[in-house]
Assembly symmetry: C2
Homo-oligomer: 203 residues x 2
């Protein structure tokens, strides 16, 4: 329908701006402290207009989570296409991306205790699909890394996966950065090093 494509494009651009604002605010303050008024103000539209695009605050957060997970899945697939790297390098590259996003203030956090948000996300098909696809792919790499002796095979693969996921909301990088004495890159590499050598097989 070329007749409606311009309007649809405008719609997508507007919704993209909304999701960008939500993403930033979620990264800065988390879901509970983010208000819909702040989102509207940051986008520069009225609050009621927001609700024409998204039916609830939870839906706003879900949209931001979906977008960041699409980006994450892209990173995973990019790593899968590398033929020069082993599974450990790929896992590290994904964790590095998450840490860099977090330090750049672009990683939305899901304060794991909010029930309304969690139940909404659990019923969000696209979100759950992305979560499972990423988990499956990372899980396969983890099992392979354990088989090859790069990751301690006595650890449950779940523990390894959750430990990697937890880097996306690790408070340590932000606190270290706030001290002002280290660069982002230093912080990222230190955290990566302590994380992965903690998971590595005993020598």
């Amino acid at each position: 329908m070329p007749r409606s494509s311009f309007r649809e494009q405008m719609l997508r651009v507007r919704e993209d701006a909304i999701v960008t604002a939500v993403n930033r605010l979620l990264a800065e303050k988390g879901f509970d402290l983010m208000t819909v008024d702040q989102v509207a103000a940051e986008v520069g539209i009225a609050k009621a207009s927001l609700y024409k695009h998204f039916p609830s605050k939870e839906a706003l957060a879900a949209a931001a989570m979906v977008r960041v997970m699409e980006q994450g899945l892209q990173v995973v697939d990019d790593q899968a296409a590398r033929h020069d790297a082993g599974v450990l390098d790929r896992l590290q590259a994904v964790a590095r991306w998450a840490l860099q996003m977090q330090l750049a203030g672009q990683m939305p956090t899901l304060p794991s205790q909010n029930s309304s948000l969690r139940s909404e996300l659990a019923t969000h098909a696209r979100y759950m699909d992305l979560l499972m696809e990423i988990s499956d792919k990372l899980g396969a790499w983890i099992v392979e890394a354990q088989r090859d002796g790069h990751i301690d095979a006595s650890l449950p693969a779940e523990l390894v996966l959750y430990t990697l996921y937890a880097r996306a909301c690790d408070p340590v990088p932000a606190v270290l950065k706030s001290g002002g004495r280290f660069s982002d890159d230093e912080v990222v590499e230190w955290v990566l090093q302590t994380c992965f050598s903690g998971l590595s097989a005993r020598t």
Copy 2:
């Protein structure tokens, strides 16, 4: 004043019950999702009575944090009194205590983004004193462990300290436990192992 001691004792018992309820609710839902009504209901008194003991919700949380840090300081001092253990064993024992408290639902969490709470805590003398005393003592052990080659000396001591503190709010143990396939002790030891071998000196 022996005349007033009975009343004062009752007061302390009542306030202790309040702090216990706050502690549990903070561990369960965090500061933002905990309501003062819930605290009052759990203690079995009216909300207005709470405000006779503590002037604000933030003060309630601060009291709970002070108590848990007094317990933590006690653990640190107990470890300092052990003559059979090296610094690494002592650091591990403290981290183990924090993880066990968390899995038992008794470790209050401070969702690091709330500004009203953080500013109140920053002006809370007893809280800051405890934080500094614990940090000083753990910091000394960390430096010693680095000098002795038990912890990677190329890592900033700050990073090591924050990494240990972060175990108290690590989401990994709770998620692993919720799967139901592992015991608390297994989870604690796995997390400790990955944490400390990540910090250990390269061999």
